[in-house]
């Protein structure tokens, strides 16, 4: 099977991906970007620069909290972790996403009669 081309991240899903990524534990921004890319087999390309405004916005809303720590290569890095409010937000976002995903799947599984397969 041909490897699918990298797809731009769907508008509005970045928050969900970041929250889901942080649900595994604290990570710095670069690690979050790498995780999303790696977990999606390099399909979901996070525009790396755009990750940071999103992180700051989520921190402003109280979903995540940041603190400086030491990275795996011994450098100072800012780590983000989920807050209780962020966990609640993640649950809500996941529920909504699953609904949409299911709805889309249903549409795809039931084409109108006479339509080409």
């Amino acid at each position: 099977m041909a490897k699918p081309s990298r797809a731009a991240l769907l508008q509005g899903t970045l928050d969900l991906l970041v929250l889901r990524t942080l649900s595994g534990g604290p990570l710095h921004g670069y690690a979050i970007a790498r995780h999303i890319l790696a977990s999606s087999d390099d399909v979901l390309l996070v525009e790396e620069g755009s990750l940071y405004p999103a992180l700051y916005r989520m921190e402003g809303r109280g979903w995540i909290r940041s603190e400086w720590g030491t990275s795996e290569n011994g450098r100072r890095a800012k780590y983000y972790r989920l807050t209780p409010k962020g966990r609640a937000r993640l649950r809500a976002e996941l529920g909504a996403w699953q609904l949409v995903q299911k709805a889309i799947q249903q549409v795809l599984d039931h084409p109108p009669e006479g339509a080409p397969a």
Binding site: E48, G60, R76
Partner: protein, 515 residues
Amino acid sequence: MRLTAPAAWLRWTLEPAAELAAVEEDIRRELEFHLRSSEELLIAGGMPAAEASAEARRRFGDFDSVLADCRRIRLQRRIMIQRVNTFLLGLLVVAVAFFLMEAWSSRAEHRQAVADLESRLDRIGTLLSEKQDAGDRRDDTGAPVASRRLAETGDDSRGADGPAGQQRALPAPDPEAVLRRFNAAWPLSSALEIAKELASLSGADALRIMQAIHARIENAEVREMVLEPLVRAHPELALRFLHLGASDASEAVRAAALARISDFALFDFAKDPAAYPAWWARHGGLSTSEVMSSCAAEFATRVGTLQGPALVELLARFQWRTFGSTRQLGLDLGGMLRGAGIGNVLDRLVQSPDGDVRKHAWGLVAQVGGLDEAFLRRNAAPLLRAPDELPHEVATAVYTALAAQRSPWACDLLQDAMLATAPTHPASYFAVATALAKAGDPRAIPRMIGMIAADDSPETIYGIGWFGLTKLTGVPYDESHDGKWWLDWWEKNQDRLPAEVRGQPIPKVDLRKPR
């Protein structure tokens, strides 16, 4: 988005530079960590260093734009709060500045007012000392020294006069300067102060100035109000001053002046203003005492000849207000009326069959005062045998007339009247107890205590206690001071009273039987 120059300046001004720098440094370190980590991974994958750096930056995007976005998001709330704070601070600064300016302005006004007052007090002090020290000393122009000061106060050049109290040769009082001050007086009541200054001059000078300017004072209220201080300061010229008001163009000023003149003339010009010119033609050149003596004689004659409603109206018009206003000026209207023979007229009127005549005649007796013992014994004693049958005004007038005698026999009559007053007539208690207190005879104290001991009703405790005993004993009134309390007080305190009262028994009063 590019900011316009003023917006950039405003932003730069409102955002604290240190806070901004710290936030920016924090973000920059985080973003640079990202770039370096990305670069290292690419190098580890075999990419040359220079190429890896460029690729890392390409993947990252516009570094400065991301930095600016992050900074804006981080500072958004804080900037908003700081802007609100700055706005409030600005408001506070403006408010404080406003209040400081107001306070400064007010302080300056108060200083000016104090300086004006001090200056006025200095002038008044100077005028008084000049009057005392120099008597009628006059300057080269023949004008009294004191009057020069008044003229100076209205003169714009007075600043050159130096400190108050320093003398210099000045022209005679300038009525025009005084007129300018009256016309500039604001608030209007400040005209009274000018009038009082004018009143401190000799009567002749004050009159001369007022005759020159009164009609030209622009405000009618001022024309009315300025006369009274002059009348009070110079009673013998009172009618000359009031004549200015009586000749005024304003009806209100004329009416006020004629009402005042009526009290001296004992003639009601309010009812017959047309009679004034002829009256003035006869009396205008006389002093107030001379006018009053003459008018007192005419009044006694009129009272003796009039009858019915006209008599009642005349007697009712000239009662306590007339006597009070002339007494205030040191003029003895009662003495003048007695000198004019009013006693003989009143002797007849107090026995008039007309109740209204009797009532007002007794009122006049009380105001005239000084009528002899024979008059009062002859006319008052029979009435006081049954005081409750008298009209209240008559009883009060009789009591007042007796109290004015301030003699033991009058006090005895009043005490008999008090004992003859039934407790069902509390108003009589008030009147007779008031008269006894005014008579000031402490011999009334035991009888008053006897009254309260015999009747502990609130009316008696109040009527005798408040109007009589409180004044005679100095004991503050208390509604709990009943007969038992007063009897106890008498036992403990009679030794402090005058000798003629000490040891007197408290009379037993039987309220159920005629006393």
